[in-house]
Subunit: 331 residues, 2 copies
């Protein structure tokens, strides 16, 4: 199994990437090879410095010195920068030289490159970012996490199918409970998009649709897969991170004030996104895994782990089969 | 100053209402009279029982024995139940027998009754619920909190004007920073609604529009007034409450495990919605203040306080003047 990793992705690249790759190589077993995509001389130097601790037979380097920056327009950056680490990594995957590509670089560029080079699977209009939210049941998959800001009901139905397979293959849930994010429980509640999507999902074959899920039910584990458009999903995701930070800050202040000692990190480990690794772009013909730009080594290592599990479980093939359900039968 | 209070609003009515009214009467000074709207015999009995602690000269009762239940269709309930506490309270206000009406009953019925009997102000297509979110700057006003799930750019511009006046009159901010909830900072980011609204707000006279505010900037106090549609707003609001509960639960577990003692309530007082009182329906010709259905006495008391401050500052008149800015000039 060969997984390519963007070595020009994080804000601190390539150090978290190298450490993350070493973590994954130590965890995932002998079959894994990591292909670092980035600045070869720098990478050689860093690997050299680490000496014996590096399993050199299982790390390769592909030279791609150019970096797409977060501010750039994704589509034009992908066209204008063929030697960028993102374009190089996605093309390696398209040419099946690697089985997946992981990057903590520009999310927009990862999406654009994946759409252009890997292409959406038949039956998928809009690939979606599948993000895990820490909840009282462990984690809930939310999609779309930000790839598609204006959605139609059929897009949300496709997200439900994508999430259904992710939950089966990567979360080990046989019959995932699919919920539609909404502002009330009743089918007639919500905006036009959610009312129409509720109707579509209610009659979608093969999905265990449990109905609307309100904002307050997400954290309580009201469903395994939460379907929403990418605007709401992205707002929620960023809001969640910052609320957790805010509350922990309040706690630290009170600890300072009262002189209490407390293992804050331990208590809130479940909220640490680094535990969850990356978010795959679901619905393309391949495995593009997107990481947070500030990912520490653990997050990178876990993202490679997500990619490895997706490869082993044949998630992409399962998604292709699932989405074919809604395609018109061939004549 | 006379403020009517729905005494059939909370889940535990009328007890939190009576206690809340007494709190407000003690805090707000002699000019306040509270008019309890509910079941007269029950209310008389409860007031009697409290004896001397009740300033009977400043509490009145209006008999309205009927209660609109949360599950009922708001519009038809308002038509079919003229003797309900909500319809009676809003009509008392329409007839100017009271200066405001506060209720912890059905939000939908409060909105429907307010729209029917008080009417929107000229220039307001859709009144909005103005909700305070606890943030690192104290509180941020978010609107719409759930009254309008499908919005057009001009509705969001009206929300900005409503929020501008609320922040001036009730939060004491001379030049409130108006932010548009979005998934990126750049003007071209977001869905169709947010891109068009950004353009509208950028040229709206008299508003201090600071641009897009991402999910993660809300809690960090990125703006004083956060404008969004009622679908996203309602999801965020409910999500926030439950995230805070979840994190505090994690904390309690860790405390139990380690035997640490800690004043959780004290540390997180800022997150307690009861501190913030009710949310006024902004943009109607009057003051309808909506409270959480599980409001404790403190929340009811603070909601009466919000109504009192709005009356004193002449918020409704100021809103009427502000919204007139966008009306076509008379010929």
């Amino acid at each position: 199994m060969r997984i390519a990793l963007d070595a020009l992705g994080t804000d601190e690249a390539p150090l978290p990437e190298i450490e993350g790759a070493l973590l994954a190589l130590a965890t995932e077993g002998e079959e894994l090879t990591v292909v670092l995509v980035g600045d070869r001389p720098r990478l050689e130097e860093e690997l050299e410095r680490r000496g014996e601790s590096v399993p050199r037979g299982r790390i390769e380097i592909v030279h791609a010195p150019d970096r797409i920056l977060p501010g750039e327009s994704p589509a034009s950056a992908v066209r204008r920068r063929p030697d960028s680490s993102i374009v190089t990594g996605v093309r390696l995957h398209r040419d099946r030289e690697v089985d997946a590509f992981v990057s903590a670089g520009s999310t927009g560029a990862m999406m654009a490159a994946s759409l252009i080079f890997l292409r959406p699977l038949p039956g998928v209009d809009r690939p979606a970012i599948g993000t895990l939210l820490p909840t009282s049941i462990g984690a809930t998959l939310m999609l779309d996490g930000g790839a598609n800001v204006d959605c139609k009901p059929r897009h949300l139905q496709q997200f439900a199918r994508l999430g259904h397979i992710y939950a089966q293959d990567l979360m080990g849930i046989e019959r995932p409970r699919i919920g539609l994010l909404n502002i009330g429980e009743e089918p007639e509640k919500g905006n036009e998009l959610s009312v129409e999507t509720h109707a579509l999902l209610s009659r979608a074959a093969g999905l265990h649709f449990i109905g609307n899920v309100e904002g307050r039910e997400i954290i309580r584990g009201g469903c395994d897969v939460l379907v929403c458009d990418g605007f709401v999903g992205n707002v929620l995701l960023k809001f969640y991170e910052s609320v957790a930070e805010f509350i922990i800050e309040l706690l630290r202040k009170e600890m300072d004030r009262t002189g209490t000692r407390f293992d804050v990190k331990g208590a809130f480990r479940v909220l640490d996104y680094a535990e969850y690794g990356g978010a795959p772009l679901l619905g393309v013909n391949g495995l593009s895994v997107i990481c947070h730009g500030a990912s520490p080594p653990k997050a990178i290592g876990n993202a490679i782990g997500v990619a490895a599990r997706a490869i082993r479980s044949k998630m992409v093939q399962h998604i292709a089969r699932e989405l074919a359900r809604d395609l018109p039968a061939e004549a």
